[in-house]
Amino acid sequence: MLRFILRRLLQMVGVVVVLSLLVFLWLRSLPGGTVSAILGEKATPARRAALEKALGLDQPLYVQYWQFLKRAVQGQFGSSTGVQPGVDAMQVFVQRFPATLELSFFALLFAIAAGIPLGYMAARRRTSWFDNLSVVGSLIGVAVPVFFLAFLLKYWFAINLHWLPVSGRQDPSLDATRVTGFFVLDGLLTREYDAAWDALKHLILPSLALATIPFAVIFRITRASVLDVMDEDYVRTAESKGLTNKVIRGRHILRNALLPVVTTIGLQTGGLLVGAVLTERVFSWGGIGEAVAVAFTRRDYAVLQVCILMAAITFVVINLLVDIAYAVIDPRVRTR
């Protein structure tokens, strides 16, 4: 097992180096650039040249990349120019990552907590009105664009009913203490329960919006998988042996049916990072997604490079965790 993990981590290093070169070249081949973003219509050729020189963008590409690698090895990734100018890109990432993790965690929680039980129930009551309704519901979940759903949610729950806040992560007037950057956890740790509660309220709408697609996918995979497993011989055997319904459901159906679901959840986590770009923007959620969106329009090379590389690393690590989870759930994988 350990060797397996090590090998995967080594692969990751290779992936990151190759990806860093690709990202580096791709960003610089985009039209426009940092200089135009900073100067806007105030750009004169003289100002342009001075700024390019000051930023080192007048150097040949291979020199720039070499400089980038040299700094990166020392843990310096360059200052942000658009998202949080003057702050090292890695620091921008570290500061914002908890926000994205917090949002993704709650979104995934919603998706799993609703997707698996509903999928299971739909499969058990196949072709009933409940089944049909949930299938249609999950289709809508996939089909409705995040920004539209976000608009509806905000319109109803925030503007009309005033139950929940429109955007942001916390009411600034609470003046909450920061410890880990996970606002709910921070509130609990520092016993500022009002701050934790406020952060939780801010989380509900964006995580619902972000959860729809993974929910729909998890729901459908669970349903299909349970249907498959229900027809298996060992289920029929268990039934004929006279095992209780509880044992059959728990040990024979659900446990076996969950294997593909776990893989899906792993893949969906990667998708969450993509969905976060849109969701964070419309909910003004100060996470990686918003940073990437702002960095892209402002051509903030340093932040884009770090965010894309770290997202790739996160993706690889999640896949590794999924494989490990697989081994825990399915003993057959362990022996191999």
């Binding site: 135009s36 219509e41 105030k42 925030a158 806040p165 955007s167 600034p172 203490t177 016993r191 100060g286």
Partner: protein, 557 residues
């Protein structure tokens, strides 16, 4: 206690949680939540579109930073609320020598920086010397407004507009400049030239700007600035994207009416609008003109700023030689139905431009009439010039909205239809604002393009000087025309006239020449940008320079 396999994780998690709790102490101030009595709130919450870059305005060039620092910092020269005109701020009066090269500023008595340091002539000179003495990195980018106004830095002292500062006595500072210019003293109202505490600047190593990769690194001072204004920085909560300012109780003037001022950073425009509707912010900047009516109907106040900008259609005679003929340029101008454009595509209060400067600028020529929409005249001019059916590569930017150009595509479509109506073959080109558009304009890649400008301070030089001044490098490529060199010379001469009355007259004449004899480009329109605030917010005065201050603002409960 014997640990079983099942209990181990639980025990570990509990230990971890306890450890974390032990080192996580609430450091919340006891003052939070305390609200003043009466019927006004103790906090103003304003929606900002972007994060401030830093809090030392000297190294900033963007509006989001200045919106914050303007509440905390003051300059020698201030701006009269609601206008583009200057008024005394930290200097109570000023006077120029006969040759316009020596400026004497009488300073305000009894002003202190937040750190208790006295504001005096020595502090003024320290500030100017600090701004003048920048390292190579800061010169290239962050010290942008100094580079714009003063030309160069201490490393190239002979060519800098700024030639030194002396303290004549404790409360009188004298600033010497290289040549007389219309920029003085009006450009000193720029936020970048705010006065900051010499001691804090020194202690925070304020000039230590470094290059970090392809960005800039700023010294500690930029996070913890010290000024003289009605508000001071409380904290910038980056994780929650809010900047909180608190009242400076030692302020020399009238104290801020509301104790706290919070800027909540919300990049998405429709989200800002929703926040206002939900009542969680009291106002925001630059509402989309299409939303103005809806916002008013919902019971908000739309505060329209007097327009201090220009939208123009740039023309490049170096790229399309037909444009070298004045008749062709005039024909294009007559072909445009700008009355209609202003009525249908621009926010209310927008006007047809008669010249390249807005009305609020000294030197605006009131006698100039707009080129009226005249299709027949346009066609006959084209015929005379032998340019019937000429083709024109005309570009507009996408993925952007500017105060002078809320919806570029719609404006473009209207202009294009007008041009095609007189038989011009328009090649439509569009690129994202920062996806090649600005670069191509600067490289002279289009025959014609849409762009504009928002003024920084009240001097015509800031508009027409920038557009047509530097002969070799300006966007209009006037070096390829017969009049370009003369125009550039005339602009320089007008800028150097010491007497304000004579200077204004010279600029009025120049504006006439530019529009009637030269016509380097087509001035289209001026559009007023706006702010929107809830009915509960009172006392905010819209500024043409977007230099609104919040110290007189109250929000009722």
């Amino acid at each position: 206690m014997k640990l079983t396999r099942r209990t181990t994780p639980v025990v570990l998690a509990t230990t971890l949680a306890l450890t974390l709790t032990a080192c996580a102490q609430s450091d919340r101030g006891s003052g939070s939540g305390s609200s003043s009595g009466g019927d006004t709130k103790d906090t103003i919450t304003f929606g900002a579109a972007g994060a401030p870059e830093l809090f030392d305005p000297f190294y900033a060039t963007d509006g989001e930073t200045f919106r914050v620092t303007r509440q905390m910092m003051e300059g020698l020269v201030g701006i009269k609320p609601g206008t583009a005109d200057i008024e005394p701020e930290l200097a109570t009066s000023w006077e120029a020598s006969a040759d316009g090269k020596e400026w004497t500023f009488k300073l305000r008595e009894g002003v202190k920086f937040w750190d208790g340091e006295a504001f005096n002539a020595a502090a003024v000179c320290y500030n100017f010397e600090r701004m003048f003495d920048q390292n190579e990195v800061a010169q290239g980018g962050p010290a942008g407004y100094w580079a714009d106004v003063m030309g160069s830095f201490k490393t190239d002292a002979a060519n800098a507009l700024y030639q030194g500062c002396t303290a004549k006595d404790d409360m009188t500072a004298v600033i010497k400049i290289l040549r007389p210019t219309s920029k003085f003293p009006t450009a000193l109202s720029l936020d970048s030239f705010s006065m900051q505490s010499p001691k804090a600047l020194k202690d925070g190593d304020a000039n230590n700007v470094t290059k970090q990769g392809e960005g800039f690194g700023y010294p500690a001072y930029s996070k913890n600035p010290v000024g003289t204004g009605p508000y001071k920085l409380d904290k910038y909560d980056e994780a929650n994207k809010t900047v909180t300012l608190v009242r400076n109780d030692a302020y020399w003037g009238e104290k801020a009416k509301t104790a706290k001022l919070v800027f909540k950073i919300i990049p998405d425009e429709s989200t800002r609008r929703q926040e206002l509707e939900a009542g969680s912010i009291d106002g925001y900047d630059l509402p989309n003109p299409a939303d103005w009516k809806g916002l008013k109907d919902a019971g908000n106040d739309v505060l329209v700023r007097p327009a201090f900008n220009i939208l123009y259609m740039g023309l490049n005679p170096a790229k399309n030689p037909k444009l070298k003929d004045l008749k062709v340029r005039q024909a294009l101008y007559y072909a445009l139905n700008r009355e209609q454009l202003v009525k249908t595509q621009l926010p209310e209060g927008a006007t047809v431009a008669t010249q390249f400067v807005p009305e609020t600028i000294k030197g605006y020529n009131k006698d100039l009439q707009p080129y009226a929409y005249d299709k027949a005249k346009a066609m006959s001019l084209l015929k005379e010039a032998g340019a019937e059916g000429m083709s024109l590569t005309f570009a507009y930017p996408s993925e952007v909205s500017r105060p002078y150009m809320p919806d570029p595509q719609k404006i473009y479509e209207a202009l294009r239809t007008d041009l095609e109506a007189v038989g011009i073959k328009v090649n439509v080109v569009t690129k994202p604002w920062n996806g090649g558009y600005l670069d191509t304009v600067d490289n002279g890649g289009y025959d014609a393009w849409l762009l504009g400008w928002t003024g920084d301070y009240n001097s015509p030089d800031n508009f027409i000087g920038t557009f047509f001044g530097s002969l070799k490098t300006n966007d209009f490529h006037t070096s390829a025309t017969s009049y370009g060199a003369q125009l550039s010379k005339d602009l320089e001469a007008a800028d150097a006239i010491v007497d304000e009355g004579q200077r204004t007259a010279a600029y009025e004449k120049l504006n006439k020449t530019i529009m009637e004899d030269d016509l380097p480009g087509l001035a289209i329109s001026h559009s007023p940008p706006a702010l929107v605030v809830s009915k509960k917010l009172k006392g905010l005065v819209a500024s043409p320079l977007t230099a609104e201050t919040f110290s007189s603002v109250t929000v009722s409960k």
